[in-house]
């Protein structure tokens, strides 16, 4: 080789290879960053797995002592007593009763408010009310617990003098009020998504606003509205502080809203407030109750998604 080629080669080496090396370094850095970001995204999956794993693990120990048959058929839930019974039904009854009252309050009011907001209210009103509804959704639930115990229950006691201080009626009503903004907001979104030409078609046929809202817009948006109801049920079932404060702490197999009864969530709170040794049957019982709660809300959540997917209107 002559010296000219040598100098040529070295020139290539000094000019290109640092850039190549830089490129390699840059690529590695890119890959590392992507990997780190993926790990962060995987945290969501990890959380789900951890929830299921912990609930199942502690519940399995629980079901070594308690048979599934007893869990689902026994009529008493007294895991902390000397004479322990492990029937989840009283807690499920309390949960379903308070949720049913909440839904009975929230569904009509929420739906009517949504229809009004979407079909009757002026643009200005809607722009003002929507953020307020969002604000209402953000109010901490413990505050609603106060409202149920010290405002609504005394009010109800004036109508029903025999109503106990802790009762499912007051707790359910307040829970319903709590859910109204949620239903109104989600149902309104579903109705706004109905294309304008469907309304215009209806008006062109001489229909009034009310007729259009009830017979055209509502049927077209029904999947979204029903999904809002189902997700609201799921919220009511999982709601904790209102019932823990105002519905009572005594498991009670009844569907009578005038009585006091503990819900699944109220029971977990009650046990957690006490000092329970780790690994005892009482400790495990809150995980079994939690598993039941998780199963119920998961059922409603999945149902909500199916309804929304399956009955989605194709415009």
């Amino acid at each position: 080789m002559n010296s000219a080629t040598m100098s040529h080669l070295s020139a290539i080496q000094t000019t290109i290879s640092p850039r190549l090396a830089n490129n390699v370094r840059r690529n590695v850095k890119e890959r590392v960053i992507e990997f780190i970001l993926m790990l962060a995204a995987l945290s969501a999956v990890a959380t789900t797995f951890a929830i299921v794993a912990i609930l199942l693990y502690e519940s399995l120990s629980f079901f070594k002592t308690v048979s599934l048959l007893e869990f689902f058929t026994a009529k008493e839930w007294t895991p902390l007593f000397e004479d322990a019974h492990y029937g989840i039904m009283p807690l499920v009854a309390g949960t379903l009763t308070t949720s049913a009252i909440a839904l009975a309050v929230a569904m009509p009011i929420g739906t009517v408010a949504a229809i009004y907001l979407s079909e009757f209210a002026s643009y200005k009103t809607r722009e003002m009310v929507k953020p307020v509804l969002e604000l209402l959704v953000g109010v901490p639930t413990i505050v609603f617990g106060y409202f149920a115990l010290l405002f609504v229950t005394p009010l109800l006691q004036k109508v029903f003098p025999e109503l106990p201080g802790f009762n499912m009626l007051g707790a359910g009503i307040v829970m319903g009020i709590m859910i109204v903004p949620y239903i109104a907001s989600v149902a309104e979104d579903a109705m706004r998504a109905v294309p304008m030409h469907m309304r215009e078609g209806s008006y062109a046929m001489g229909a009034t606003r009310f007729q259009t809202a009830i017979r055209v817009v509502t049927p077209a948006a029904i999947s979204g509205i029903v999904a809002a109801y189902i997700l609201a049920i799921s919220r009511a079932v999982g709601e904790t502080m209102v019932v823990a404060v105002a519905a009572g702490q005594q498991p009670n197999l009844t569907f009578n809203p005038m009585e006091s009864a503990a819900t699944i969530t109220a029971f977990i709170v009650q046990v957690a407030m006490g000092d329970l040794p780790h690994g005892s049957i009482g400790y495990q019982s809150i995980f079994a109750a939690g598993l039941m709660l998780m199963a119920m809300t998961l059922f409603f959540n999945i149902l909500g998604h199916i309804v929304r997917k399956k009955y989605r209107e194709q415009y």
Binding site: L37, A44, T47, L55, P108, Y116, L117, V139, V180, I268
Partner: protein, 324 residues
């Protein structure tokens, strides 16, 4: 719809009888329908007002019940057996420290996850799995996060009933909120911005860091504020991990007087937070404590409303001001 209203729209029997009658009947029908319209509009307005006035009633009720405790003493005293001298000092300090941990845990993680899902994730079953998980996590009752924390953080990892445990628990709880708002903010950025950056030789990370993240930070901030407001008000998961309700001491200060000026002892300290203090006072039979609970509730509601209000206002501003 028309077929259902046939009798109303075209009174067939009298159609040929007299045109005058017809017209009157149609006018009567229109009046009837208009009345229905107005009736329903008033019911709708009533339903809406009911929802809105409830918050107002609730807030006024809380302030009326608790106004006598609105003074500096209430914020600077520890809880006490005597209601009139009990204060919120340990509760608000605890809330502040727990929220600090929550912020540090949830925000980097949530933003990173949102970035990955929007900018990096390939469209396959793996990304679908993550997406479904995020959606489902948002629907998990908060008390279940408490059970997770009790099994995993308190006993599994041995963090105990500490500020660290509470902060991480709430961090997991608000993670879906931050992920979703990050993704929404990123999705609003037009592809042209990215393409312009790529065209001048930027790598993917440079595009993400210098452009995507920069233009979406307002939207992300909105989600962060809403998430933190949620964390401030959450009670159930923190009760479940076994937070104590009667705390008459402050955690060790995070800022030391000697080098290295920062210590982490406070992370493992016992604590209480505002909503738990309120729950504690609320569950006592003595009415004097209910006054304290009302005052605490008013403070919680004020702070969360301010935070959520800021977030909503911020989002409104962003929507209005940004024109790509």
């Amino acid at each position: 719809m028309l077929t259902m209203d046939k009798q109303n729209l075209i009174p067939a029997s009298s159609a040929k009888a007299s045109g005058m009658d017809d017209l009157q009947e149609v006018r009567a029908m229109i009046r009837r329908h208009k009345r229905k319209d107005i009736l329903f509009a008033s019911i709708g307005l009533l339903a809406l007002m009911f929802a809105l006035l409830t918050l107002l009633t609730l807030f006024i009720d809380l302030v009326m019940d608790g106004y006598q405790r609105f003074n500096m003493e209430f914020l600077s005293e520890f809880p006490s057996r005597r209601a009139a001298h009990a204060g919120l000092l340990s509760a608000w300090v605890g809330s502040l420290l727990v929220m600090l941990v929550t912020f540090l845990a949830a925000v980097p993680m949530g933003v990173a996850a949102g970035l990955y899902l929007e900018e990096y994730a390939p469209k396959n079953w793996f990304s679908d799995l993550i997406e479904i998980n995020v959606t489902n996590l948002a629907g998990v009752p908060s008390i279940v996060y408490g059970l997770l924390a009790l099994g995993l953080f308190v006993y599994g990892l041995g963090f105990g009933q500490s500020i660290l445990t509470a902060g991480l628990t709430l961090g997991l709880l608000i993670l879906p909120i931050i992920i979703v708002s990050t993704r929404e903010a990123i999705r609003a950025i037009p592809a042209a911005i990215r393409e312009a950056a790529y065209a001048v030789g930027a790598t993917k990370w440079q595009v993400v860091k210098d452009h995507v993240l920069k233009y979406s930070q307002g939207g992300i901030l909105t989600g962060v504020i809403i998430g933190m407001a949620r964390a401030l008000g959450e009670t159930a998961p923190i009760i479940t991990i076994g937070a104590l309700t009667f705390i008459a001491f402050l955690p060790p200060s995070p800022i030391g007087t000697e080098a290295p000026f920062i210590n982490f002892e406070w992370l493992s300290s016992g604590f209480t937070v505002l909503p738990i203090q309120m729950f504690n006072w609320l569950s006592r039979p003595d009415h004097a404590f209910h006054i304290n609970a009302a005052a605490t509730g008013a403070i919680i509601i004020l702070v969360t409303l301010l935070m959520n209000g800021t977030a909503i206002w911020l989002r409104y501003k962003i929507r209005k001001n940004i024109k790509w």
